[in-house]
């Protein structure tokens, strides 16, 4: 494994790990706040227990997300010093604001976790909401920094020099809104489905049914709402990418030749040497429609882009197919769920529907990982699109493969421990939260 590939793998691993924790850490506080609100309004103890149970999940994920985020702020320099030397002053604005948002989140979490029965009930509730809002703000700011790498702006690049730096303009680059929108909705969809899936499984196993039903409903409504609107934001993103980064779009679609009335390629095995896709379903004109809004217009293919600027087509195309496929599947589940909610409420906790949600538990996160693969691999060979190549940014220190292996081991063991901890939290729900008054409701 050469140093560049090792550095990219280590970065991918660290980000891939961090994204999951960051998403859950920024979305679950909202579930928690809804349940907390329900408790304050109804005085139903189940909601209080649910809030507390979820807040422990938030604490675990927040802490893991915080340390893996700290890690990343160093890894940017450890792996890509040449990039940070020039990019830091330009795209650093969102990072410095993110520091504030994250600090506020940590403070609010301190109030929330340790503030039960100390503060005014509504102040306490409010601190929980602040955890969510500041978490969301951090997420959006970090995505804004990433979007600058896709759509560099706020400086003039002349003779290898980065001049006329405007950090605010860099932050509000062309890509920030579409990327932040898509990521935020994805975080809600993925976390909603994951949490709903876990509680659905508990209902199917007939453990603390009332508790888990309430939990399931809150998470499922958040998740399905997000999954329903996500295709819209995906459409905005695709149009934006086509405009700014034609090479990325071409790789996503395995679109080798520039053509009018371009067809949408679904699935298939891209063959980069012979510039064709085997075994794919092709829908004529649809790609032109998705990109330009009509079935005729031309879509730029990889043949119009110099070969040295091609992103890896196979990975980008596969990742894109996985993301879209899973997103569509989640959208369908959401349609079914809303139909049931609207027309047939008695079926809300029926076996088949719950089973569907259990099956969908990891799908949102797989889609997120796939989506980030599209964004990052699709930007290659650039680290700053059109300005600096990834190969020029990597650290001169040799032996990065060793460090990659080392970090892989750390992240793997951390994941195992976190899953084990959550398993134990969920397993202990009966002992921790079963009050006599809840047990009588258990038969449904």
């Amino acid at each position: 494994m050469n140093d560049l590939l090792a550095a990219r793998s280590q970065m991918a691993l660290s980000l891939g790990f961090h994204i999951i924790y960051a998403c859950i850490g920024m979305v679950m506080p909202f579930f928690m706040a809804v349940s907390h609100y329900a408790w304050l309004k109804t005085n139903n103890g189940i909601y209080k227990n649910l809030t507390k149970a979820w807040s422990k999940g938030v604490a675990i994920f927040f802490a893991t997300g915080a340390v893996s985020g700290t890690m990343l702020s160093f890894e940017l320099g450890l792996l890509w010093p040449r990039f940070m030397e020039h990019a830091g002053p330009i795209f650093g604005m969102p990072f410095s604001l993110e520091g504030t948002a994250f600090f506020i989140e940590a403070i609010a979490l301190g109030f929330f976790l340790y503030g039960w029965d100390i503060f005014n009930r509504w102040f306490h509730w409010f601190t929980g909401v602040v955890v969510g809002i500041s978490g969301l703000a951090s997420g959006i700011l970090v995505v804004a920094a990433n979007s600058w790498m896709n759509s560099p702006s706020g400086f003039t690049f002349r003779n290898g020099q980065y001049l006329d730096i405007d950090p605010v303009k860099a932050m509000f680059n062309d890509a920030w809104f579409t990327q932040a929108l898509h990521m935020t909705i994805a975080a809600f969809a993925a976390t909603g489905f994951a949490v709903a899936g876990v509680h659905a499984l508990m209902i199917l196993r007939r453990r603390n049914i009332v508790f888990h039903q309430k939990a399931f409903t809150i998470a499922a409504i958040f998740g399905t709402l997000a999954a329903l609107v996500q295709p819209l934001s995906g459409d905005i993103s695709a149009k934006d990418v086509a405009r700014r980064q034609p090479a990325k779009l071409a790789a996503m679609e395995a679109h080798f030749e520039t053509e009018e009335a371009a067809s949408l390629v679904i699935g298939g095995l891209p063959d980069e040497k012979n510039r064709k896709v085997d075994y794919a379903i092709k829908i004529p004109g649809l790609l032109s429609f998705l990109v330009h809004g009509n079935f005729k217009d031309e879509v730029k293919g990889l043949n119009d882009i110099p070969v040295q600027n091609h992103p890896p087509v196979l990975i980008t195309h596969f990742a894109f197919q996985i993301m879209v496929g899973l997103g569509t599947f989640m959208m369908l589940i959401s349609v079914i769920y809303f139909l049931v909610l609207w027309k047939k409420r008695e079926m809300l906790f029926s076996r088949w529907l719950l089973t569907l949600f259990v099956l969908a538990t990891p799908l949102g996160f797989i889609a997120i990982e796939a989506g980030w693969t599209v964004t990052e691999v699709g930007r290659q060979p650039w680290i700053i699109y059109g300005i600096m190549s990834t190969a020029d940014a990597v650290t001169p220190m040799p032996g990065i493969a060793i460090s990659f292996g080392f970090f892989a081991a750390i992240y793997l063991s951390l994941s195992v421990v976190v899953i084990y901890l959550l398993y134990r939290q969920i397993k202990m729900v009966p002992q921790l939260y079963d009050k006599p008054e809840n047990i009588t409701n258990k038969t449904i």
């Binding site: 802490a63 915080a66 604001l97 600090f103 950090p167 901890l421």
Partner: protein, 337 residues
Amino acid sequence: MLFIVTTYLCLGLLLYFLLGGADFGAGIVELFTSRKNRSRIRTTMYHAIGPIWEANHMWLIIAIVILFVGFPKIYTVMSIYLHIPLMIMLVGIIARGTAFVFRHYDAVKDNMQVLYNSIFEYSSIITPLFLGIIAGSAISGNINPEADKFMEAYVWSWLHWFSVAVGLFTVTLCGFLAAVFLIGEATDVYDKQRFIRKARHFNIAAVICGALVFLAAYKQEIPLLNWLFGNAVSFIALMAATVSLGLLWYLLRKGKSKILRFLAGFQVSMILLAISFSNFPDFIIIKNGTNISLWSSQATASTINALGWALVIGSIFILPALIYLIYSFQKHQINEH
């Protein structure tokens, strides 16, 4: 604005050293406590640092962000030539942070606790050790961008007597800060006595390690004495630290926790001031003398301005909330579960 940004950078580093240091130190104190008393220490510690511990490593993140946005050259040179110790420190931060949360939030209390505890305790030593090694390396003059051999560029830059001595000195200071802090948190007289004893031990250890730093500096021809005694500010700061040492021992006998905390923080701040003032604004001392200073590595004015405003506005939000958080939990007993 450069002044504001630099002030924030120094404050961030100082606060990380004091608060984060006390945080690391709690783990070190735990490690150096007999097994039968450890669980008592854990409870005291959890009550003391639980609510604010998330905030502690935020100081480090702030300092790092200021460095890579405002002073990118410093950040990149450290990232390249101190890659290995930075990585080890990061692993320490990860292991420590997660073990602390895991041991508290594991719903089943069983043998896994033993594992969490030992990870927490050992990473509490490793992290400040390497933090000290990194700080020591930055001023030791062993960083050499002209080196063409792996060991010279990436290992001997940080692995030498001076940096290791500074690392050990940092560890003992952290233990000392934590022990002094915990005196005020102790719930009974035995615990209090125990923390007072620990504070004395760590203070003696710190003086010994401090002497080691001087020896190592002498051996490696680092002009430490000149830095410390060559200018009035460093000299006065060092004298203040020494005088407060005597006062501290007297107060330890009395067990006056509030003044002790202040004094311990003051002492450590003075040591940091003494060492950093003489080199200011140089941040990294390079082998061939082309030192990297805050002024020479600063980003363009527009970036520094934006960063300065972000920091000022951020503080307007953060400081009142943080102060209220600390105040609230000083007043109330923690009431979780």
